[in-house]
Symmetry: C2
Subunit: 355 residues, 2 copies
Amino acid sequence: MTRRLLAVVTLLATSALPAFVLPAAAQTAAAPASTGLTGPLVLEKQGSFFVGGRNVTSDTLSTLPAYAASGTITVEQMYVRYQVPVAAQRPPVTLIHGCCLTGKTWETTPDGRMGWDEYFVRRGHPTYVIDQVSRGRSSADPSLVNSVKLGKTPADKTPPIFAAGQEAAWAIFRFGTEYPKVHDGMRFPVAAKDEFYKQMVVDWIATMPTPNPTVKALSELSKTLDGTVLISHSQSGIYPFQTAALDTTGIAGIVSIEPGTCPAATGDLKPYMNIPIMVLWGDYVETSSRWAPRLKACREFAEALTKAGGRIDHVVLPDLGIKGNSHMLMQDDNSLEIADRLVAWIEKNVKAKKN
Amino acid sequence: MTRRLLAVVTLLATSALPAFVLPAAAQTAAAPASTGLTGPLVLEKQGSFFVGGRNVTSDTLSTLPAYAASGTITVEQMYVRYQVPVAAQRPPVTLIHGCCLTGKTWETTPDGRMGWDEYFVRRGHPTYVIDQVSRGRSSADPSLVNSVKLGKTPADKTPPIFAAGQEAAWAIFRFGTEYPKVHDGMRFPVAAKDEFYKQMVVDWIATMPTPNPTVKALSELSKTLDGTVLISHSQSGIYPFQTAALDTTGIAGIVSIEPGTCPAATGDLKPYMNIPIMVLWGDYVETSSRWAPRLKACREFAEALTKAGGRIDHVVLPDLGIKGNSHMLMQDDNSLEIADRLVAWIEKNVKAKKN
């Protein structure tokens, strides 16, 4: 019996499962005929745009003669690429990547399998993929770097941009306890790790104001989409909650995958009371000194929210018999099965607006 | 009579046109039925991947406690997103953006019209959109910036990253002679200029070795695609030529749109002898002190290549009665008509491999 099949059988054998644990096929209506899970991908429309942004002036945009030092640039805009299936009957999902990465997170996996960006479309969801402000196709501001170069600002005030090293990322992404050890049964396609490393970009997040301008942009996007499920990951895990705290308009649901931070259990829970929420965790969390405290804090938040009357599912996959998921579970070898689970959860918990 | 219609009539009235000037409809066979110019977009496949990249080690990846200072990162990889129409009968095109921009250049225009990334697919071409190495989703290396911050490198050695200011970009992109004047009859959607400015990103190109690693990555991509038309723009205008000089394998054609540089007319022309080439220019070039010398140099290159027996079309749109195009002609209000022209030129000049 293959490992994957074994996992399914294990799952089916588990009794007294809450509704969101049922196999996707049992809950999910067939996707519209024009949006099959295989065969041609049929799109009603696709494209890209920016949300947010503000103009700043600077006299250190450049130190090169070919480009003027002084002028205006736009900062804090958020790049969004979208694909909408024909006759979409399900709510739009917005995929929000984590640290040191871009929207590429959700596209073709490092080993060449279909990404969630396409799979959610095939499942009938208009799908929006963002690059966080100051990463990828969403620009940052180099003015302070150039000011240092020109001697106008002390070197120690250079903005703290960084790249995550592969060795340290290994444990953060929970491929193993430490580089290059691999967790037993781990589902991330480690043979393609070099392709994963290429996804990592220079991260300017520590130069951003708080809350990160991505949150304001997500709020604007949610209002435009008028009912989207915000699906965040890791460093961005808190963003949908921060967006809801800003304004719940347009937020139809929140799925926070392995969040770096959850809202405080003792904080104001009111913004989250009327939004269906799932917090989702993979495997090997309890033995990670980085992740175990985060899971604990999220569980406390979920318990507090439940007690207050909120609707939150705090899901730890190994508790359901699904083992081996890394931190990058949208790229693990069972990534589409996990996506099916989210589709089913949305189907059950999130009311889609009908056109 | 609308201005656009007038332009078409003017074009039709012009006699003795070379073949590539004929209206697209006269030259282009109907696109496959499954890939209409309107209605749902039907894709055989889509996805993204990286080409190239090499590992470097550094002890200044980060100055933040949360991320290790020492480790390995991958640099010089090139992000590629692709969409392939069903039963593609035409050669793949690779869209290569210019200065301070990303692959967003070719997507939805600032005023919300269809981008070339989709239009070429609808015209039957598998379409590959890249982010140049060190821009957008293709990462750069922050090590030297952090080394300055830590006092290990003198401030004046800070890498020369830059952002192009909107005021200076105005004349570079030829919206007008100077900011904020607008050329008479100019076709760029200036009302949406703010959305265009959001496309501009921090540019690390001056920190790159020569030739830019994007060239090597384009060569690798061309070999993989086994016959692609490299369509470059502005700062990347020279890249397809540099790629051909490296190795002509897999390069089925070159379209260089308003190149910053052409190969020298007096240089080695051999790499370009067996590749169909178009160099394409918009309007207002002759009166631009920045662009006029570049056009002149490209014309000299084209004349030298023609004399040597090469196949090159040096096209200046106003000479054909098509007026008003800015430097960003893939976003101008006649962008799809220009794309039609390229499709027709490819149809006539580039031999597609049949599957």
